[in-house]
Symmetry: none
Amino acid sequence: MNKTERRQALLRAARDVFATRGYHEAKVDDIVAVAKVAKGTFYLYFPDKRSVFSELVDLLFQRLGAAILQVDPAADVDAQVKHNIRAIVAVLLDDPALTRILLSHATGMDPAFVTKIRSFYDGVKTMLSLSLAEGQRLGIVAPGDTKLLATFTVGALKELLAENAVGETPLAREAIVDTLFCFLQAGYLRTGGSSPAPALPVTAPSVTPARPRRRR
Amino acid sequence: MNKTERRQALLRAARDVFATRGYHEAKVDDIVAVAKVAKGTFYLYFPDKRSVFSELVDLLFQRLGAAILQVDPAADVDAQVKHNIRAIVAVLLDDPALTRILLSHATGMDPAFVTKIRSFYDGVKTMLSLSLAEGQRLGIVAPGDTKLLATFTVGALKELLAENAVGETPLAREAIVDTLFCFLQAGYLRTGGSSPAPALPVTAPSVTPARPRRRR
Amino acid sequence: MNKTERRQALLRAARDVFATRGYHEAKVDDIVAVAKVAKGTFYLYFPDKRSVFSELVDLLFQRLGAAILQVDPAADVDAQVKHNIRAIVAVLLDDPALTRILLSHATGMDPAFVTKIRSFYDGVKTMLSLSLAEGQRLGIVAPGDTKLLATFTVGALKELLAENAVGETPLAREAIVDTLFCFLQAGYLRTGGSSPAPALPVTAPSVTPARPRRRR
Amino acid sequence: MNKTERRQALLRAARDVFATRGYHEAKVDDIVAVAKVAKGTFYLYFPDKRSVFSELVDLLFQRLGAAILQVDPAADVDAQVKHNIRAIVAVLLDDPALTRILLSHATGMDPAFVTKIRSFYDGVKTMLSLSLAEGQRLGIVAPGDTKLLATFTVGALKELLAENAVGETPLAREAIVDTLFCFLQAGYLRTGGSSPAPALPVTAPSVTPARPRRRR
DNA sequence: AATGAATGAGCCTTCATTCAT
DNA sequence: CATGAATGAAGGCTCATTCAT
């Protein structure tokens, strides 16, 4: 087993132990036991326990970052949004252990760590928020505080995935995507050409037929 | 300072330290330092570190349990839902430290503990899910998997409150309530009597001008 | 309840707790709980935990010292020895708790303490040894190392009393005295002047007259 | 130093500290200081403080168990009894520290522990008692309550060894064996068929051929 | 590189003792 | 005198990290 493989083995072992026990309850002894290496070996590949955890979280962040595409309002928005949801769900459900770490166990750590994780989510929310704002400009997103809407979205997604990561009743992947999409759509997306459902008081509704429509 | 006051002081101190550092990073030394008592005093009031934490979580559960009212579909549903949202928000924002504990730091603990907290959320979701099912029967809730809708709702609420508990930019309380309410309403509530806004794939979207509008 | 009574109550409570749990496992909390006084009160009557224990041991020593009489070889030795045995047994069995303390729990303490207790036993053995030497001079004690004989005697007595102090099956007091006396008598006492000191009732003398028998 | 050696070193260190200070006063810090290892090392070899103690006691029990032979009444009883005494004395005096632990410091511990030690002694006494009963059947042991005689014997032996374990004046080993043997023989052994069981050289056996007298 | 024995700082908890009321 | 809340030193044990082999 070469260096890279051993490193991977340790990362996988760490991931599983962290996911099962949480950061503090996961002992280095447990990790090396799972990886079937000696304790000292662990420290040949990682400077300390913290950094393995950190690396795992970073890895998931990368995957998520790579999966999420900026929505181009000029193209088929529905499809892009669905694609994004699907991609995120895929990344997270493909590695439930890592997901569990991110969603549940990444807390109660150094403030530095919590900050890091929060930063990621903040990034996601900001990105989403900007997209939503753009969508509002184009009339395909209901008016409203986009920051809040982003928060709602992320929260709903996290909760859903957390539930599935815990894993008692794993939902069908596409079902999750569809349901969440519909929820969002009926919530603040105005993409389907279907009903308007403004999320917040629309001042001056107007009856003028000139009114711009989405997805007509 | 009598026994009850001292107990309260210790609980408050523990709450703050747990909220800031998380369970494992919170040392009994920190707690007693904040409470300005000797270490032994802590153990006069609580059998161990775990139990203070447990008590804090229970306390919040109780408050939340007391705040949430079962929605009576016969009466003004909007008002009741808003009231519930407002009550929950009030409980949690009144004690951001405790909220932080519940939302962030209660994980990575004994499985027993995680189970306990999950049980609480499961309870909330089940209750909500039942209400939603009843609402569906009455036609004031969009069709769909009520369990999932409940998950979305709880997730959105948690995320929102977590963000506020972290506390950099506390939103106006009523703004939170309104925004969330609107989100839910446009999402799956059909209380306004107006248009349906189906939560799940709407067959035949239509472009008919007769299309019903909400909030016109 | 006056000062003396309270002091006695505390001593009794301490005695019982020490006897049951041993010195280290006996907490001041236990003692005051049994005595039904507050913790601080304990320290009004005794400077510290150690000294109560010490006082209890001293008390028993005093009683034993008072009970044991120097044997006068001129008078009826048998009776005096029996009396001594009886007296010692009486003192110790009258207060099994205190006995348990002396025999079992007085160890594993400060070297100072162990020394004290050993001193007592040394005193007893020395006294006994001197008596035995005098007895040897008078021909009523078998020759031999009197120090050793004293040790045997004390050991046999201690073991017997320890067994009874533990108290599962308390022997009849007089039975103890008789048995021990016979043991000693057949062992090294030559007091009866009579036959080879039958340890117990002699039944069935034997058939072969040729072979010298004991206990014929 | 390999694992076994280190383990032995720790056991020895623990034995000495326990023997000197007793269980409660012996701190793990003391033990590792004597063994010249770090505190953590102790816990690599033993799960806790209790278990070292337990192991030490067990060790001595084993040695004693191995040393004591069931007496075969068909063969030379005297020799066998002497051998047993010699073996026990050898085991205990070879390791005075361990002996001290067994005889003095094994008390005042968990009831579980006290029970264990008492069980051992009970076992010894029972074994001895059975042998004595068998001896009575064969006419080589004086009649009497064998349980009591066993208690006396064990007590005498314990006291003797305790005295020697404390170690101010170590007696010659064979002297101990002889003296104890004579004590027992004159006490309840009827083995030699020889003279009327004088505890020690009988001067002037008597004139009357019919009735053997001692010390008349 | 790999091993795993050794390290020791640090934590939770206990409990004898003190002291304000 | 009596109380019992408060104190804080001390001890058993854990575990991340180091290092000799």
